[in-house]
């Protein structure tokens, strides 16, 4: 089985949609709408900057990866591979 790539996880329902994490993400890997947020998995390098930036501790880092957790929100609008 392939190693899950994504190691950061935005805890559903806890986010305030403030954008601090988006502002520090070097890969433009976070998509933020009025009340939706998602990681663009293909771009994320698991650098953890967003984890540190989040004032409310909404983003968690999991060493073992989290790609298969059912709580992951699907891609919002963008097709990152396009």
């Amino acid at each position: 089985m392939a190693q899950p790539h994504l190691m950061i996880h935005i805890v559903p329902g806890k986010c305030d949609y403030c954008g601090c994490c988006v502002g520090v993400c070097p890969e433009d890997a976070i998509e933020l709408m009025e009340s939706k947020i998602a990681i663009i998995e293909e771009r994320c390098t698991n650098c953890r900057k967003c984890v540190w930036a989040c004032p409310w501790e909404v983003i968690e880092f999991h060493r073992e990866g989290i790609a298969h957790l059912p709580t992951q929100i699907p891609q919002l609008v963008n097709d990152p591979t396009a």
Binding site: C18, C20, G23, V24, E34, A53, P55
Partner: protein, 388 residues
């Protein structure tokens, strides 16, 4: 193919609405797209501004002023405090109404505004940016324009889509938390700042009054410092200690890019203004007025480009911004660097020596001069502010 608009502004914060206002006043056909349902809400801001800054754009109106302030209190880590006068008057705003008024000023000049309109990509044709792709009330829509102004705040992605790297270094991003507390006693005309390693290391905590019994209580600290402990933890500890019985009306998270202006703020037919361009006073984190100044210059320059048909003229925006305010932010950035290195001892010393100044002479400059006089070793710290 014809354009739908001359200029599309992404984001209806202070920077975006001001850009749209001046672009429309300059003769361009302007559309603002805002992702949120309401302009001005949610409010992610301490809401403090100077009178001097505001009157450049709008006449102060009680309907969006919560408090008028004339003094500020610096509270040192050891609990001692000084209460100097502000250089001029200041206000704590109701940004929910203020931002709305700014959007109305843009509309009065002829700009159109659409809310619940999330811009998710730029529209390209033959490699050229010709507009935006947006979700308007969940419906995908393409809108064409000659110039795009990205005023999309700290969460900006439009610049990146156009090839401008706007990532804020974690050293410079301030991770913020704020609660609006009610049922507390505050002095209506005083902005309070708490300093210290245990309060908000390298940053500060603010208590900005909104009337006699309500205040915005918040703090910001560098993401670098927040690695160890988050903004909300620091804030919760302070509030539990200082205002244990307060009613919490709102709480918000936020980020402020306390950096120098982004190295690039114009590319082809895209310009960025406000927080998106890091047009923030790097010491105070104040970005309302600076963003409006950036927006004004950006909007004016964009309208000139449209009317003259010369897109290269947009480059003037970058020059004009640096001449007006960008250069000052560079100096402030160096000051911030030095202050960030101040630890509790230095902060206590500054406060102690300030207390020796007669009250009527306690201004920020006076405090620093006296602090230096009483503790010459501080010269080394302050020298760092002006050198480099």
């Amino acid at each position: 193919m014809n354009n739908d608009y001359d200029i599309i502004v992404v984001g209806a914060g202070p920077a975006g609405s001001t850009a749209a206002r001046y672009a429309a006043a300059g003769g361009a056909k302007v559309l603002i797209l805002e992702k949120d349902r309401d302009v001005g809400y949610p409010v992610r801001c301490g809401e403090a501004v100077s009178h001097e800054g505001i009157v450049q754009f709008i006449t102060p109106d009680p309907k969006w002023i919560a408090s008028t302030v004339t003094k500020f209190r610096l509270v040192a880590p050891n609990g001692k405090s000084v209460l100097p006068k502000l250089d001029g008057t200041g206000y704590v705003l109701e940004r929910r109404i203020f931002d709305y008024e700014l959007a109305k000023l843009a509309a009065n000049e002829g700009a159109e505004v659409i809310t619940k309109a999330y811009v998710y990509d730029l529209l390209r044709e033959n490699g050229k940016i010709v507009g935006v792709k947006t979700l308007i009330k969940d419906k995908k829509t393409e809108i064409r324009a000659a110039v795009i102004i990205a005023a999309d705040g700290v969460e900006s992605r439009i610049g990146k889509m156009a090839g401008i790297d706007t990532t804020c270094h974690i050293r410079d991003m301030e991770s913020c938390a704020q609660m609006t507390l009610s049922g507390i006693d505050v002095e209506e005309d005083v902005l309070e700042f708490y300093l210290g390693d245990s309060i908000s290391p390298g940053g500060y905590l603010w208590v900005f009054p909104k009337g006699k019994h309500t205040a915005n209580v918040g703090l910001g600290l560098s993401v670098e410092a927040a690695k160890k402990k988050s903004a909300i933890k620091y804030l919760q500890e302070f509030v539990d200690r200082k205002y244990p019985n307060a009613a919490m009306l709102t709480q918000i998270a936020g980020g402020v890019p306390c950096a120098k202006t982004n190295p690039e703020i114009v590319k082809g037919n895209v310009i960025i203004v406000g927080d998106a361009a890091h047009q923030v006073n790097p010491v105070s984190g104040g970005g309302i007025i600076s963003g409006m100044i950036g927006g004004m210059i950006g909007g004016q320059t964009a309208a000139e480009s449209i009317l003259s048909g010369d897109i290269n003229h947009l480059q003037e925006y970058e020059k004009r911004w640096h001449k007006r305010l960008g250069w000052r932010h560079e100096i402030f950035y160096n000051i911030k660097d030095a202050i960030a290195g101040f630890h509790d001892d230095t902060l206590n010393d500054i406060c102690n020596s300030a207390l020796t100044i007669p009250e009527e002479k306690r201004t920020l400059g006076g405090i620093f001069r006296t602090a230096l006089w009483n503790k010459p070793s501080m010269i080394l710290d302050v020298a760092k502010v002006f050198v480099s």
